[in-house]
């Protein structure tokens, strides 16, 4: 990086530091080992963890009319928290910035239908997998296109930025030259993808099957094919937070053994996605 920009950055940082001297209350605390501890607050004796979620990712996590977090993962997290003796609060975040937010200590974990990938595993730890899903490809009912057409690169594809669907398409259709980079459209959230599929700006939408099914329910669309990417969901936790990882793994284990797990799977139409 050239020196001028560095200089500017330093000036900037100084200004920011000054302007923020009065604004920030909870700075991160240094642990004896020198690692930054998570941003948990201690209320009484109970630790409160902040869970980052995608606020627009049903059935795993979404925000309801009252502004409360809901969903399969949200309910799971609440159960685990009770089980493990801590409290949780939910923080909806932009999906493509959610890992940086975790790394920055803004949140303590991502529990929101996050697929375990190699790239992500370089930056964060994942809990044991708790769901396994395929990628689904949806088309308009009146579309002539088939799943084979999609795989052959004949479709303009819509995907949410940063999702496995987008990454799969990049790696298997764009990188192989089957479609041009222009033929993959990136959206902020999946409902926008569905909207644009309906608008016929794109031919196909790719997304995790359960969420995809949820998103196109009641719309003149259908899933015409699934891609077995072998992907599984896990809870993302900072590498240094091994204690929290242990708690979440133990909690997940207990949850999946409990009847509540089956209730949740039924409630959120995820039966068959559980690894157990």
């Amino acid at each position: 990086m050239n020196t001028k920009i560095s200089g500017i950055l330093i000036i900037l940082l100084a200004l920011v530091a000054v302007s923020f001297a009065g604004c920030t209350g909870g700075e991160s605390v240094e642990s004896p080992s020198g690692d930054a501890l998570p941003t948990e607050q201690i209320s009484g004796d109970v630790t409160v963890y902040t869970i980052g979620i995608d606020g627009e990712y049903p059935p795993y996590s979404y925000i309801d009319t009252d502004g409360n977090a809901q969903g399969f993962d949200v309910d799971s997290a609440k159960w685990i928290a009770k089980n493990q003796g801590f409290e949780v609060e939910f923080q909806p975040l932009a999906w493509d910035g959610i890992i940086p937010a975790l790394l920055a200590g803004k949140i303590d974990m991502v529990y929101s239908g996050m697929t375990i990938t190699d790239e992500r595993s370089l930056k964060v730890n994942f809990s044991t997998p708790y769901l396994q899903v395929d990628q689904g490809v949806a088309f308009n009912n009146d579309s002539e296109m088939t799943f084979e057409d999609f795989m052959a690169g004949k479709a303009v594809v819509g995907a949410q930025r940063g999702t496995t669907g987008a990454i799969w398409t990049e790696e298997n259709l764009i990188a192989t030259g089957l479609i041009s980079a222009d033929s993959l459209k990136y959206y902020d959230n999946f409902p926008s993808v569905v909207t644009d599929l309906q608008n016929k700006r794109i031919d196909a939408a790719i997304y995790d099957v359960p969420s995809l099914r949820d998103a196109i329910a009641g719309k003149p669309m259908e899933i015409r094919g699934q891609i077995d990417t072998g992907e599984v969901y896990g809870i993302a936790i900072r590498k240094e937070d091994t204690e929290l990882l242990g708690k979440m793994n133990a909690g997940l284990d207990n949850l999946m053994d409990d009847d509540y797990w089956q209730e949740l799977l039924v409630e959120y139409k995820l039966v068959g996605a559980s690894p157990r």
Partner: protein
Amino acid sequence: MDVFSIVAEWLPYLLSGVMVTIGLVAAALIIGALLGLPMALGQVYGTRPLKMVIGTYVWFFRGLPVLLLLFLFYFTIFPFLNLDVPEFFVGATVLGLRGAAYQSQIFRGAIQSISEGQMTAARSLGMSRLTAIRSVIIPQAVRVALPGWSNEYPNILTDSAICYAIGVAELMTRTSQIVAQTYITMPIYLACALVFILLNYAGMRVIYHLEKRVAIPGFSGNTSSGVL
């Protein structure tokens, strides 16, 4: 359920974003003014290095898109500083620091428009440079700057919507969330636009009355300081 009742159902959720938006705008205007005025003074009366530092700051913040500034602070700068800053404060900081760059130029223009003679006259009365700036130049400059300053309100108000990109739960973010859940587009977008336009109108009314109150007939600079 028809469109209207769905929109009506979500309306409270949308409207609760108003306070967040107002908070962003207010924080940004205040940070902007608190930093902008000293920066303007520094640019007019400061030493060469100080002028350069401020000039660079202004160049930086005026040269970058709000969207990029938000990303830069949210993903790069704050994490680098190891600061845990909630989205709202990231938004307020970016809008405020950026506003300071713009406001400093408004104030600078105003200070420069106050004639040299005012300074000379003040000094000839035995005032120190600092006293002259504080009690003669600033009270006049702030009033000269008011019309330009009041333009900052609508600008920051509309820019605050870009905080959607980092997920601050203001109006635009909520609008997008509602659209994502209901698949109803136009009525919700238009409702959001209406709220913004009303906020704009209401804010301009407030500023208009504020301007009236601080304006002094005959415009003499020797009254006590009336910094906003």
